[in-house]
């Protein structure tokens, strides 16, 4: 995703500090409707997760986004995860290890096919750019959400970015549609990540996403 885009989001990090406690509460309760008033906060959270599921680059581990993740995990009492990530982030080759983990899980593995390609249609149709992808693309288009043509529309980071886009506009209906779609494929993806991950970072992340996208009454 574009560098400029993420610079803008880095500014948002300041707002995270303001919103994360609210968000932690919201995750604990597991409901979204209670926090309708805080749609702007939800949008930031989606964007934040979208950033975290993209390929980790140079300053990733020292970014506000990762600091926020650790604080959030602590406040959610997921202390083991928080400590795991904190300890990991302070090792000298942490970034390389995280990049290798990302490559192996999501792009290509030398020893098997990528464990968990982060594309919805992979789980729904066993291919990229299937009919379900086109449906997603239609949804994006009708909401003025344009992405670069080389990108795969139903990649996890784009689905999260779209959620951020509609949440920002307070479009609960579309947000609900998208969440419903995500619930069709995300559980299998999550299972693959949990089964094949070599350390705690990505299983923690997918767990948070799973909490965020689950049905309101569950």
């Amino acid at each position: 995703m574009g560098i400029i885009y993420w610079n803008v989001k880095a500014i948002h990090a300041i707002i995270f500090l303001w919103s994360y406690l609210t968000f932690a509460q919201f995750l604990k309760s597991g409901t979204m409707q209670q926090h309708n008033a805080n749609t702007f906060g939800a949008s930031i959270i989606y964007n934040w997760l979208s950033y975290l599921v993209d390929y980790p680059n140079k300053n990733f581990l020292y970014s506000n986004e990762v600091h926020f993740l650790i604080s959030l995990l602590e406040s959610l009492r997921l202390t083991q995860n928080a400590h795991g990530i904190q300890a990991f982030a302070s090792t000298p080759d942490a970034l390389l290890r995280l990049q290798l983990e990302y490559t192996r899980l999501f792009i290509q593995d030398g020893k098997r096919p990528a464990a968990a390609p982060p594309y919805a249609s992979f789980y729904l149709e066993h291919r990229l750019w299937g009919e379900s992808t086109e449906e997603i693309m239609r949804l994006y288009k009708t909401h003025g959400f344009n992405l670069p043509p080389n990108e795969i529309p139903d990649a996890l980071c784009w689905e999260l970015a779209f959620l951020a886009h509609v949440a920002e506009q307070g479009d609960m209906q579309t947000e609900g549609l998208m969440l419903q779609h995500m619930r069709t494929w995300f559980p299998i993806f999550q299972e693959y990540v949990e089964t094949h991950a070599e350390h705690i970072f990505y299983p923690t992340l997918v767990k948070l996403i799973q909490i965020l996208i689950q049905k309101e009454d569950s």
Binding site: G110, P113, P149
Partner: protein
């Protein structure tokens, strides 16, 4: 009123319809009232994008893509095409699933594990290109240009190949299309006629079509298959020489299940009969051929009776073929073949095919060896290219070698360091693990390199050995090749066409085209001033320019420019000129004789089959192009594994049944890594088995293809190199069966 039953009603209607013609009116009405029904998976709202040129195989049919919301929904033949027309084959249709394959190479990768057992790290293009430039430069500085080798394949590899050959200056370039496929054929025709050939013989207008070991109908080249079927439709007699009841054999008037590798003896016997009975085209030979006396002598070594024994073919059938050809000459299509690297005695076999064509006068006549005339286009040459250094050319050992250096010589040098060390290898679109015989040697070669760069669209067995692995766009996402050709006409001017490959969709993920990659590597190696073009469009426009065309003009013409030829491809009269040393068709070549080879076609028996073993034959299936398409979901579903053909009588004696699963072990003790299913059939000689090629890939990144079927190439370890051309004979291997861990010999 009595109740009207359904039966009454229909009876009455039938009576009424007999007097009033209702059906046409109803049809028109129904058309107007057709509901606006759009079924799922329809092409509603798609935009048709012309300019595609297929590369699921290398015949390059012209395409149109239907795109909706950025998604490629369907591929079709370009209706404007005079080549493939609206038709494309199964592979062509499945091109969509190449572009959208989840296992595609998506980002530049660095291998921080070992070659063959990789651990991948996604890196930026900048970092990847810096690494390539630095490592290649280091080898160049230390070992000279000959320290680098390159294995290119496909249109995107042309530009980088020219860079390494003409700017870096390495002679160590080996294309599978030449050294493991058709190079030997091209060279044999070049030596005989002074020009190479392609397989576009005029089958549509032939009275007899003559095929040796052909894949027609099994490797679907659309326009070529159409021409063949047109010929059959028009009543051409079909002669097929093949140990196997191939797709072509199934349509043949005469099928000769020959003993594998003995084809040259059969061809010499046919020609001997034509000469001794005076059945050849004396006027054509007199006017256009040289060395007839020496040639006649060479043919006389193989009278039909002797050949019958050698080839395991009835003598009467050899004579029947010769006479059928003579009766229909000159309108006979002696097919030069495509995949020609069989037994290491191939140059002479194809020379024999070329000479048979000449004896029958079947050159540039309707139904004969008449290649259509293609329009002229330009080329892109790297600036200030250096003259090749003859001192470092290993290829001279094989004086009739195709362009490049024989693969075997490169591989040996890389392993032994002699005559010089080869320390960096660039592999561009070629899976050398599964194209070159003797995998163990290829892997040893790769492991001995200081640096290995692979550029490809999909993971293959060789990409596991890369240090840096770069992703290219698929043929649906890039510019590169110019497809051109012609169409013969028996009653008017010939036509010719030019089509440039244009992208149908935007490149996905983070892939870069070969012009960009090569230029960036060239800059980092210090060769910036040699760069001839800045991008793909400029590259294609330069090639189109001499034809008065450009991408813009071609786009306006829906992707294909068609014009009438000013010349006819068929000859007018008997007096012809040839660009051979003698200016004639060389039935006997002095050049060959001077270089220590038989000047007229001569038969060398293929390597002898050891007792208990069968010849390992391999070939094509219509739904795959070698290993390139194995991971394609749609194509895989059509044919998930490659059944091993075994003769029914042999199978009965060996206790093998149809549907059994077996492995193979070859003459050097190599066992296939996977097993496959047995197909018991009377359609193969007792002393041979047949396996479709390309299966049994080992790269674990290939979710669909890995370990599906059996890899024939893993069983090809015989070092069998054609002495004139340095091309690899790949069919000189022999196998026994392994069932439930027990080895079973063939009872012959």
């Amino acid at each position: 009123m009595a109740e009207i039953t359904r039966r009454h009603f229909l009876q009455a209607a039938a009576l009424a319809a007999a007097s009033i013609p209702l059906s046409r009116a109803i049809k028109v009405y129904a058309e107007e009232k057709k509901p606006d029904f759009v079924p799922k998976g329809s092409f509603e709202d798609t935009q048709s994008i012309a300019g595609g040129v297929c590369e699921m195989c290398f015949w390059r049919c012209q395409l149109v893509g239907k795109v909706r919301n950025g998604r490629l929904v369907k591929l079709e033949g370009n209706p404007k095409s005079i080549d493939n027309g609206k038709a494309i084959c199964a592979r062509g249709n499945a091109g969509i699933m190449l572009a959208y394959d989840a296992n595609r190479l998506k980002y530049p990768m660095k291998n921080i594990g070992e070659r063959g057992n990789p651990k991948w790290q996604r890196i930026s293009w900048e970092e990847a290109l810096d690494e390539c430039g630095k490592r290649l430069k280091a080898v160049l500085d230390k070992y000279g240009p000959q320290g680098i080798s390159m294995f290119p394949h496909g249109a995107s590899a042309k530009y980088p190949m020219d860079f390494f050959e003409t700017v870096v200056g390495t002679p160590n370039i080996s294309e599978a299309s030449f050294f493991q496929c058709r190079g030997v054929r091209d060279q044999a025709y070049l030596t005989t006629y002074g020009h190479t050939c392609d397989e576009n013989v005029d089958m549509a207008n032939a009275k007899v079509i003559f095929l040796t070991g052909s894949h027609l109908g099994e490797n679907i080249h659309v326009s070529h298959t159409m021409s063949y079927l047109k010929g059959l439709e028009n009543g051409a007699k079909l002669i097929v020489i093949d140990p196997r009841f191939s797709a072509a054999a199934s349509k043949a008037d005469i099928w000769i299940p020959i003993r594998p590798g003995t084809d040259t003896a059969l061809l010499l016997a046919i020609m001997n009969h034509l000469i001794t009975k005076g059945l050849y085209d004396k006027a054509f030979v007199q006017a256009n051929c040289t060395g007839f006396e020496e040639f006649k002598k060479a043919c006389s070594l193989w009278p039909a009776k002797k050949a019958a024994k050698e080839c395991d073919v009835p003598e009467a059938q050899i004579i029947k073929i010769a006479e059928l050809l003579a009766q229909n000459a000159p309108n006979v299509a002696i097919h030069p073949g495509r995949f020609s690297s069989w037994y290491g005695n191939d140059f002479q076999r194809i020379r024999a095919l070329a000479c048979l064509t000449a004896l029958l006068g079947a050159y540039k006549v309707p139904g004969g060896f008449t290649n259509p005339i293609s329009p002229k286009t330009g080329s892109v040459k790297w600036k200030d290219a250096a003259e090749p250094d003859e001192k470092i050319n290993m290829a001279e050992k094989w004086p009739f070698h195709p362009p490049g250096t024989p693969t075997d010589a490169i591989r040996n040098a890389g392993i032994t360091g002699k005559p010089y060390p080869i320390k960096a290898t660039v592999i561009w679109g070629q899976n050398i693990v599964q194209t070159i015989p003797n995998q163990a040697m290829t892997i040893e070669f790769l492991k001995k390199q200081d640096f290995v760069l692979c550029v490809d669209v999909m993971p293959t067995d060789v990409t596991m050995y890369a240090d840096i692995l770069l992703p290219e766009p698929t043929y649906l996402e890039r510019y590169d090749v110019i497809k051109k050709g012609g169409k013969l006409s028996t009653n008017g001017p010939d036509k010719q066409y030019i089509a440039a490959r244009m992208p149908i969709i935007t490149p996905l993920h983070d892939v870069k085209d070969s012009i960009f990659i090569t230029n960036e590597i060239a800059k980092r190696m210090g060769f910036e001033r040699h760069i001839p073009v800045q991008n793909q469009e400029e590259y294609v426009n330069k090639i189109l320019e001499p034809a008065g065309l450009s991408l813009e003009k071609l786009r306006a013409e829906n992707g294909i420019h068609i014009e009438e030829s000013t010349k006819k491809a068929y000859r007018n009269g008997n007096e012809l000129e040839f660009e051979t040393p003698s200016g004639k068709i060389e039935l006997f070549s002095k050049e060959l004789a001077e270089k220590g080879f038989a000047g007229a076609p001569a038969y060398t028996p293929p390597p002898k089959r050891p007792a208990g073993y069968a010849h390992l034959l391999f070939g094509r299936v219509p739904v795959h192009s070698f290993t390139r398409t194995q991971n394609n979901l749609w194509l895989h579903n059509e044919m998930p594994e490659n059944a091993l053909w075994i003769n029914d009588k042999m199978a009965a004696k060996m206790g093998i049944k149809d549907g059994d699963r077996v492995k193979l072990v070859n003459q050097d003790g190599l066992t296939s890594a996977t097993d496959t299913v047995v197909l018991v059939t009377p359609g193969i000689k007792t002393d041979a088995v047949f396996l479709p090629h390309g299966y049994g890939m080992r790269n674990p990144m290939l979710e669909i293809a890995k370990d599906k079927g059996m890899d024939d190439q893993s069983l090809c370890s015989a070092n069998c190199v054609d002495p004139q051309t340095g091309t690899h004979g790949i069919r000189a291997n022999f196998v026994r069966l392994v069932k439930d861990g027990k080895t079973i010999s063939f009872p012959i």
